[in-house]
Symmetry: C2
Subunit: 326 residues, 2 copies
């Protein structure tokens, strides 16, 4: 069966069940987590590889340096969501031999800048050639004092960092509908944050409280991330509040788009979605305030059929699928 | 300037000089080494990313599982050459959505088998889509008690592991010249070792002796690897002996090819080329014998103009170049 018929998420499920089961070495992190724990004597060491084809990543307004930055920030976000502080990155690039050296230099410069912005280093990498194609992959290692898996339970409160949900959805919607030039003029901040996202490093400190029962980043979309938490908990995520960014609300109104669509199904956004053990909320909120990290309560996990509801309405759990969406 | 005009090695040199200088964190390992050391409190932690386009890696007789195996073994070899024991791998794949799920499963199965054959684990990865293209990248972390850089000096003795030099050259030559079918029948071992190479894990134990001053793997060809050691030492590698594998000698005779060409410029071979501090040779050779690792003395580093000679004749230092060779 073709990958496009099966879809990425089903294909990965089969890989895990048929081949990879038993490879994960830590009780805290397993298949489905954003990053893996090395295990053995290295329970705190977190490894991630993350990338994509340049064609899928390269929006028309982006510079080569933005591509390098985005790729490193995306890998950093996966570490951070598991409670790990990034230590080092390495980047592998595939480029057409007809490409200019300035493109290669730009991508690597952006990657090095992002590594430093995330408190880490870009330790070289690998260059490859590829006719009429191109890709970037980032290897990342980090250190997690308290690795955060997907072990939430009914009763836990669900949060999202900074509440800036929907800006990436705004950008992607404007791109899909061919109006990105006007949207970029009207909503410049959405576009600049899209090109140079920052992983929420402060979340690593929150993980240190031991109050976080599950976390994942929102890179495949808020709904998909919540679905992962609900699935692992065999529970229902009851949303009461979806803090859509005001710019995304304005964009939605201007173009007659559902703002929840932007917030729930955008993807390529790097906030942390996390669950906090019942009774621990105050401690986490106070710690977040000390760190200057905005966090918003968005709902609660309940006993019930696995899924997501928003003010009583059931939300579909879908998200970015590399083999179907491209 | 186009990458094809500049070549991979010059392009990487510019990246290092203009962007990456200062990123490397350990005195032992730096730019030009096969893998990087994370640094800070993690001087023994080694990180590598390594990959390529499927078009460049996929020889016509190879199964999907061989591709996955090769990619992991190649990354393992880079760790091992720096004295690091592999701990974990993660793999990123780009595949056309029209590709069959069995191809994806085959590649991942081979990667998982190679990880285990190298005493480590395959901790998941990332799947991506890419129209009419495809790639594989492997992220690898390892632990080096004594990281081995490129700090050889005149007087050091130069070695190569196992002496099986030239088998990959045989395979690549037969492929380039359109006679791989007959060569595969006559020299099956060369083809099976090419499809399923093994990194020389025992070398990690040799690195533990503290006698090794420089090492690199032979994946870009023996001449290129020796050139790296000579360049870092600002010295001459005087070769006295190039242990060409008997099968490669027979192939060279059969087809009228220079056997040294197969041994020196083949690439995609995963032996370790290393230098041993003067006076330490006996200890290293005895330790290798205990480990069951064949090692062959091939020459010595001398004061002199940087380069390589073989029995008085100067050898050209060239090797695989992704942007020029493809």
């Amino acid at each position: 069966m073709k990958l496009s018929e099966l879809g990425e998420h089903e294909a990965v499920k089969r890989l895990i069940e048929e081949i990879l089961a038993g490879q994960w070495r830590c009780p805290s992190l397993g298949p489905g987590d954003d990053a893996a724990c090395v295990g053995g004597g290295f329970q705190n060491l977190i490894l991630k590889i993350d990338g994509g084809s340049l064609a899928s990543l390269w929006a028309p307004w982006m510079e080569p340096a933005d591509i390098g930055w985005q790729a490193v920030a995306a890998a950093a976000s996966d570490l951070v969501a598991k409670g790990a502080k990034p230590l080092a990155f390495a980047v592998s690039l595939g480029l057409d031999p007809g490409e200019d050296i300035e493109t290669l230099k730009g991508i690597v410069r952006g990657a090095a800048e992002a590594a430093q912005a995330h408190g880490a280093w870009l330790l070289g990498g690998d260059t490859n050639s590829c006719s009429n194609c191109g890709w970037i992959d980032v290897a990342a290692v980090g250190l997690a004092e308290k690795p955060v898996g997907l072990q939430a339970s009914p009763g836990d409160t669900v949060y999202v960092t900074t509440g800036r949900i929907g800006l990436a959805g705004l950008v992607l919607d404007s791109l899909a509908k061919g109006r990105w030039r006007e949207a970029m003029e009207a909503y410049p901040r959405a576009f600049s944050e899209f090109a140079r996202p920052r992983a929420r490093l402060e979340f690593v400190e929150l993980a240190g409280t031991g109050c976080i029962t599950a976390a994942t980043d929102s890179s495949d979309g808020l709904a998909y991330s919540l679905g992962k938490i609900a699935e692992a908990a065999h529970a229902l995520v009851e949303l009461e509040n979806i803090p859509v960014e005001p710019e995304a609300l304005r964009y939605a109104e201007e173009y007659g788009v559902d703002p929840l669509e932007l917030a729930l199904y955008g993807g390529q956004e790097y906030e942390v979605i996390f669950a906090v053990r019942g009774g621990c909320e105050k401690l986490v909120e106070e710690r977040a305030a000390t760190l200057g990290l905005a966090v918003a309560r968005i709902g609660r996990l309940r006993e019930g059929p696995q899924g997501i509801t928003y003010r009583g309405r059931t939300l579909s759990v879908r998200g970015w699928d590399n083999f179907k969406n491209m």
